[in-house]
Structures are given as C-alpha cells and as structure tokens.
Amino acid sequence: MRPILLSGHERALTQVKFSKEGDLIFSVSKDHNACAWYANNGERFGVYKGHQGALWTVDVDPNTVLLATGGADNTIRLWEVKTGKLLKTWEFGTAIKRVEFSEDGRLLLGVTEKRQGQLSTVIVYEINPDPEAEQTSEQSLRIVCDELPKVTVAGFSYLSKYIITGHEDGSVSKWDAKTGELLQNVFVHDADLQVTDLQWSQDRTYFITASKDKTAKLMTVDELEVLKTYVADTPLNSAAITPVKDYVILGGGQAAMDVTTTSARQGKFEARFYHKVFEEEIGRVRGHFGPLNYVAVSPTGTCYCSGGEDGYVRVHHFDPPYFDFK
C-alpha cells in the first residue's frame, strides 16, 4: 500500500471524509480551511475559504453537491462542492464540533460546544439539495443536552429515524429524530473518557464508536447493544468500518502533551486494522508523526485515508492481497 500524501494544510487535520463515489476526499484543519482532493492521485480539487477559526468538522451530501463545515468561529457553512461558492452561514453562540448529513441528504445536524452558561445542543436543519435554492434559517429540531453530559459526536441512523449521540462521559444516547425525545442512554466506554468518534456502517443500522479509553465498540442502532469490542493500547480518536471486507480501522495515539518521554515509539501513531467479527488485530500502518485524528474509508472499499495531528492526510489504496485475505 503505497500512500499518497495530501500536503496543503498547515496545521493539524481534524476530520476527513470521502464523497459517496469515493473519488473525492474532503479535509478540514485547524488552519481554518477546508480542502477537496482527488482520491486517486492526491491532486487538490479546491479550497473552501471563509471560516474565521479552526475547523472541527466536515460532511458532504450523498450527491457530492453540498459541503457542510463547522468550527471554532461558531458557524456552520454550506458550500457548493463544484464551485466553492458559500451558500449559507448559520451562526451560533459556541463552536461547532460536528456536522453530518442524513443518508438522503435532506437533513443536516450540528453539535454545539458547551461553554459558559451555554448547554451543548444538537440542532437540525432541513436542506434543499439544489445549490441554487435558498436555504432555511429555521431549525427543524433542537435538542438541548441539559441532563446528560455534553455531546461530543452525533449522527443520523437509517431512514433518519434516530439521532445517536456520543458523550463526554463515555456514554451513548439515542433520540427520536422527529421529536427530539431521549429514548435511551447507555454507558459503553470507561467513565469520564469521552467518545471521540462515531461512524456508520453503510446501511446505518450499526455504528462504531471510538474513545479515549483505548477501545472502539461496534453497536446496534435499535438496542444500543455492544456487539464487538476492539481493544487498542493507546487512546483512540477515530474508528471506521470498512465496506466490502469485514474490518474496522482505528486511529489514535498519545497526544504530545501526555507523552512522558520524547521517544517516538511511545506515541503509537498507527492506523490499526481489526477483524470486525473476530475482534482480532490484523495489522498496523505506520507513517504519521503525530496522533491520527481521523480515519475514513472510501464507500467503495478500495482505499482509506487518515488525517493526522502532523498536518498530513495519508491516502492508502488497498493492494490486491488485502482483498484476498480471509
């Protein structure tokens, strides 16, 4: 697997996403910019400039027409993928930690940060998929997280039926996506070690969570039941489920400030592959010089990419043996 390095960001990557066809990669960084890249050769397709602070999150709609970004400047912005045109800006009182489209692209959710007197919220907008259309400023749903610890990650389940949220205290919740009613809250990860990522299976009936407690868990939407647990030896920032083959990919690493020694071997900056069903580690991919902040798999299952604290995105196309491995 010879990696392609996407260099262009000047600071740590925070999230990376593939387009539905797997041909484009979208990345956001603390350098205030969002970028789009060709997955096959690593050439830059475009830059989306306008945010006034670090970006925390990005998502692209299923038609690869609209791009949503959110960050420390307290805005969610909607862009036209093709032209880079800014279509809409929603403003909030605190930073945006997550954005995600529903599977049909008709809804967009955002997670706002909890800060002085402001509770963490999950807000939802209805989206018009036409880039020429006027987008609404009206929230169709607003979940205020007052009884539970703050939300760190969130997403829409299959058919936009539920919203699943991961929390600061390691728990995972399920909400009715129409009414905003809390249906279930379960403790999944070690107490007070936050859920750092939540990514979906292709049909959005199950998902994987990553946590600072050094584990990732495969969970069902319907019962919030933990199906599988993947144990790593380093705090995890991200976890992805591979389509086609039954693997999961975990990324993480000890943050520089927590590493007690300068020894590079301490960091464990590797992407780890586990067998999804057997929970056994299969292999690791090295390369980053800092923790992996996000890992994403192409929906076609032919490649994955990782965004690191070191400012690089590494794209790895799987070799034939990957597909032969049973």
């Binding site: 058919l159 049909d203 009936t205 199950y206 319907d222 039954d246 020694t261 071997r265 069903v277």
Partner: protein, 686 residues
C-alpha cells in the same frame, strides 16, 4: 473481576480493628473432657454444650473439639466461641472446675489468657500451643505441585489487582485467582512457594491452598518489609516506624513497644522476639547539617541455611547469633569481630572435607584497622571455630558471594593503588569443601567489577566490569562481560578458574542465571538508553573451539533481544522461561512484561497499564530421591513420547477450538445481519 466477592473485607477489618482488641476474648478453652472415639464426638459435644449454654450462648458450629488422627479419639479438650466476651468471662467464672462425671472435671479458661500466659514463657516446653484458627479444615498447601502438566505459577500485581496464573506452554496464561485490593503495597512468595504474602497497614497475611484462603496473619502495624526463614517456619517483619504497643494489646506485648523488627513463629502465629533497627555507622548529617539517608541493610537478620540460627551484625563490633526456636542469644553473648563490615551465611550446609559433623558457616570481612590488614574470615556455628582467615591489602571495599551449594565463596575485593587513585578488583575464591579451604586469586581484572554471579549448582561465574566514568559524562561507561569456568582437571577435582571470553563495548549491568545453571541472561536494566538481553549457553552442544578444549564450558551466545524500559528479570523455577518486566514503580513507559524461553525467543509480550510486579511461584526442593531422578532420566525417551503426543493433541484441540469459535462468531454475525437487513427492507417499504 467476579472473584472480588470472595474476599471478605469485613473479616480483614475485624481482624485488625476489632478482633485484635476483643475478637479472641469471646473464646474459651475447655480441658479435662473425656476422651471418646470420633464417632461419639457429637454426643459429647451436645452434652458439654448443655453446660456451656448455662453461662452464655454458643452452638455446635462454634464448638471445636480436635480429633487425634493417630488414635481416632477426641483429645480431651475443645475450643468454644461465645457470642460476647462477657459471656466467655461468665463461663470461666461459673463453669471452671465443673465435674462432668466422676472422673472428669472440666477446666474452662479464656483463650486470651492462655495466649498471654504462653507468650511470656512461664509455662513449660511441653505445653501444646492452641491453634488460633482451629475451625478451618487445613488445605493441602502444596496442591499446586500436583499439576499434571508440570506447569509453573506466577503472581502479577497491576493496578489494584493481584492475580495468580498458570504459565501455559503456548498461549495465554490461565487465570487461577484474581482479587482486587489483595495487598496494599506488594506481594511476596514464601521461599518454597507455600504462601503468598500480602502487605497491609496493619500487618501481613499469608494465603495459600487451592482456595487461596488466608492461612496466617501477623499484626505489625506499619510493616514495610518481610523476610522468611529458608524453611518457612519463621518470618521477620520490619517497619521503619517503631511499634507503639499499649497495655492490653491482644497479640503484641509491651515487650514489642518501640521495636522495628519482629521475628514470628509461623506455626503458632506468635512473636518470638523483637528488635530495634540499628543505626548504621557514619555521620547522620552531612557537612551542611542535612540528614543523610542511610542505605538499609536488608535483610539485617540473616538466616542460616538450616533455619536454626538467625544473625545480625552490629557494624564494626560483632555478630549476634540467635538460636531458633527460642531466639536466645547463642552462648549468651554476641560474637566480637572488631571492625566487621559485612557477613553472609553459607546458603547450604557445607560438607567440608575431613570434617565429621557439618556445621553452619558464615563468612565476614573486616577492613584495615591501624597496622592490621583487612581480613576475610570463615566461622562455624554453633562451635564458633574460625576455619580460615585471609589477609588482604589496599582494600577499598569487599563483597561476599557464596555459591549456592556453599562450595565456594568469592570475595570480590576492590583495591586501590598506593596513591589511592586507580581501582582494580581481585577475586579471592575460597574453596570451602576442599581440605584446608585453599584460596584461589583471580587478579587479572583491570577495571572495577560492578557485578558478579556464580552459576547456581555449578562452578562457573560471570562478571561485569566498567571502566572509569569520565568526569561530567552524561552516559554511563561501556561495560565488559567476562565468563569464567574451571579448567579440566583429573577425577572429581575442580581445576583453576580461567577466563573463557570477554565481550567488550556492552552496556550490560545485570546477570541472571537460570536457577539450574548452564544458561545465563546478561542484561541492561533500569537504563534510559539501552535494554539489551543477551542469552548465553555455557554447555552448547555444538562444536567446541580448539582453544577452549581444556575448559569445562562451551560458551555460545544463543540470541539477543531488547525489552524497552526493562526493570526486572526473573527466571521461572524450572529454568525453561524468563519473565522480564517494566514496572510502574520505576517508570511509566510501556509498563508490562515479556516472556522468553531459555534461549531468548520471545513468546509473549503483554503491555499492562499500572503494571507493578511479576513473581514466579518458587517450588520446594525436588521430592524425588536421587535414584528416582536417575530412573526418570533413564526412561526419558518414553516420557518424551507421551509429552509429544499430549502436546500435539493439545495443539490440535486448540486449533480446532479457534476455528470453531470463529465459525460460531461468523454465523452469529451473519444471522444478525440477515435479520437486520430484512427489518430495514420492511421499514423502507413503509
């Protein structure tokens, strides 16, 4: 950790907080009972209980009447627990001296009275001490030796948990017991592996048997360190803080007040004698007036090989030898050895040529005093005969290294030149078993010897030398590792010691011999930069170099490995495996352990958060006679065939199990997916 429920904390607290003050006060001891056959014990119990219940409340569950196994009769005495100490006192008052029938008059005494009475030595030697925990059926303490596969056990302390495991030939260790908060500071096996010791603020507890139940406990508040006698009959506990014992303490007496050491009798649970810590010689403050932290001599009380004596040195003055089990000072006086700096008992009873009764032996050394040269001496105990002395000159320091069978003692002498500048080391090797105890000197060593180790049960040794440290150097100096063995000699004689080989430019600082000799691991531990593990074979079964043909060794480097951050190394008792660990007590990098086989092949590495301690369970000496061992060796081929078959079968089963387990997991997964996909299809249609 489901086992957690098995530990009854209340009991522990009760022991130390309640029972220590009053727990045993509810017990009474009955004597003068009729001796009846075991079958009639129940009847007698009921008969006596009727009387007992007139003074307070007790029951057959709290009534214990030992049966003499030899005669299968009751012993004529019993222990009884009342509900409260007040009832016990009432029973002593009203029932002591009650006639049961014409022949038998029952004596009722408080157990604590007898305890105290016994403690102060006012009763005669024949008195049979009462057992403190008579209700527990005795476990077979050596159960673990009966493992059919001949596996070894080890204990691991990580986080708050202490677990004991079987070491598996292939694959994960098999957990036997795992308990949270089993100890408060560390765990320690007794020398033959019978007990696992846990250390608590209030004292120590000994655990064992297949149920890992508590076997003994010793109250020593603030205990820091412990040491067993080689035969596991006695235990030394030490606390840096002097004991504070008030009048009326149920276990300790005023005798122990202000003391640091207690020497206990394991069988009775009694403190035999207690001592204060001796100040080490030298100034207690530095020139600026800051207190100097002196290195503790541990163990200060050293046991003779037969556990009949325990001795402590008063630096510069002499050695006090105490006789067990009475703990009286041998011949009522300490042995005067002016200037004595260190002493070590022979680790085995040495069989010396031309001597009929083998006595215990210790080796000591004294520095230059005035015009007298430094001296090394060997003294027998109990006859206190000086067997051998040897004068030494220009001595800076000396270290005493006994070979495990007491065949040799090597005195490593650091010597300075006349100008007192350069250092060199001499080895003065006393051949203890040979007539007249001849001394062989190895003086070819230019640098300072920083480590030395005899081959256990053998006659070869390894040493590490280090060059001078350049002033202000950031890195430790390079070291050299030298291997020695005796030359070939006629008959049973052991030839002169010869250098086999020196390996230069190393960083090694540790020598770990396999417990059975032959294999040695030379390592670099507690270093920031290097973590080498070099595995050597002294009897490699391959071609031998021509130049080594007169040596009793064929040295071969088997392999080298590297364990990042290694702090501790321990061979298993069989010499088949070595565990190396990185303990959080020393640093916080990559804590956990590695397991190697004897030849240095890495079998397993397990990173464990908050990893503290790894210790193999020791085993007692072989239970087989020489003849039996010989028979085993003779039939090894047949055993070998059986073991090969068993191993093969195990491997196959294990493989089959893995495949089946995977098949099952996959089937479950596919079934769940099918159900979910079907459900989703219906949902979408709606």
């Amino acid at each position: 950790y489901e086992e957690e429920d098995d530990i009854d904390y209340s009991d522990l607290y009760e022991q130390y907080e309640v029972q220590m003050e009053e727990g045993l006060d509810a017990f009474v001891v009955l004597d003068g009972l009729p001796k009846v056959p075991a079958e009639s014990a129940g009847k007698l119990t009921n008969f006596v209980l009727k009387r007992l219940n007139t003074a307070g409340k007790t029951s057959s569950e709290r009534f214990f009447m030992p049966i003499d196994e030899a005669t299968n009769m009751t012993g004529g005495y019993a222990f009884v627990e009342y509900e409260t100490p007040a009832q016990a006192i009432a029973a002593v008052k009203s029932l002591n001296g009650t006639a049961l029938d014409k022949k038998h008059v029952m004596a009722v005494n408080k157990l604590t009275d007898i305890e105290r009475y016994g403690r102060e030595g006012r009763i005669d030697e024949e008195y049979k001490a009462p057992e403190i925990e008579p209700f527990v059926e005795k476990d077979h303490l050596r159960w673990w030796l009966g493992d059919h596969e001949g596996r070894d056990q080890f204990v691991m302390y990580r986080g708050d948990n202490v677990g004991v495991f079987w070491n598996e030939k292939d694959g994960q260790p098999d957990s036997i017991v795992d308990r949270q908060h089993w100890t408060e500071s560390f765990v320690q096996w007794s020398p033959k592996g019978t007990y696992l010791t846990s250390i608590h603020a209030q004292g120590v507890q000994l655990w064992g048997g297949p149920s890992w139940s508590r076997q003994k406990r010793f109250a020593h508040p603030g205990v820091n360190l412990i040491d067993f006698s080689p035969d596991e009959k006695y235990l030394t506990t030490w606390s840096h803080r002097p004991l504070q014992v008030d009048e009326g303490h149920p276990i300790l007496s005023v005798e122990e007040d202000g003391k640091n050491y207690i020497i206990w009798d394991l069988a009775t649970g009694k403190a035999l004698r207690s001592f204060v810590t001796l100040d080490m010689p030298g100034p207690s403050t530095d020139p600026e007036g800051n207190p100097i932290k002196k290195k503790l001599q541990w163990p200060a009380f050293k046991w003779s090989a037969d556990s009949k004596y325990v001795a402590r040195m008063t630096p510069g003055q002499g050695i006090s030898v105490y006789e067990l089990p009475r703990m009286n000072l041998l011949d009522k006086a300490s042995i005067k050895i002016e200037g004595v700096v260190d002493f070590e008992w022979a680790p085995a009873t040495p069989q010396r040529e031309g001597i009929k009764t083998y006595e215990q032996l210790f080796c000591y050394w004294t520095p230059e005093l005035g015009s007298n040269p430094a001296k090394v001496g060997l003294m027998t105990v109990p006859s206190k005969e000086i067997v051998r002395t040897r004068n030494l000159f220009n001595v800076t320091d000396a270290k005493l290294h006994w070979q495990s069978e007491a065949a040799f003692v090597c005195v490593k002498v650091d010597r300075h030149s006349k100008s007192k500048k350069s250092l060199a080391t001499n080895l003065e090797i006393f051949r203890v078993k040979e007539k007249g105890v001849p001394v062989e000197v190895v003086d070819s060593i230019k640098d300072t010897v920083i480590n030395f180790a005899w081959e256990p049960k053998g006659d070869r040794f390894v040493l590490i030398t280090a060059g001078e440290i350049p002033a202000g150097a950031a890195v430790p100096p390079k070291t050299s590792v030298s291997f020695f063995c005796p030359e070939k000699a006629k008959g049973n004689q052991i030839g002169n010691f010869k250098l086999i080989r020196t390996v230069d430019k190393k960083n090694n600082n540790a020598i770990h011999w396999s417990p059975n000799g032959r294999f040695v691991l030379v390592a670099t531990v507690l270093s920031q930069q290097s973590f080498d593990l070099d595995f050597y074979d002294f009897d490699f079964e391959g071609e031998k170099d021509e130049k080594d043909k007169d040596l009793t060794a064929n040295l071969q480097l088997m392999s080298t490995a590297d364990h990042y951050g290694v702090t501790d190394i321990e061979w298993d008792p069989s010499g088949r495996y070595v565990a190396t660990s990185a303990s959080v007590w020393k640093h916080r990098m990559e804590n956990g352990y590695h397991l190697y086989d004897f030849k240095g092949q890495l079998l397993r590495e397990e990173p464990i958060e908050q990893f503290k301690q790894f210790a193999w369970r020791p085993r007692p000496a072989r239970l087989l006679s020489k003849e039996e061992q010989k028979a085993v060796r003779k039939n090894l081929r047949e055993y070998s065939r059986q073991f090969d078959e068993a191993d093969e079968a195990r491997r196959n089963t294990a493989n089959r199990e893995i495949v089946e387990q995977r098949r099952r997991l996959l089937d479950e997964w596919l079934a769940w997916r099918e159900k979910t996909v079907q459900y989703l299809r219906e949902e979408r249609e709606d």
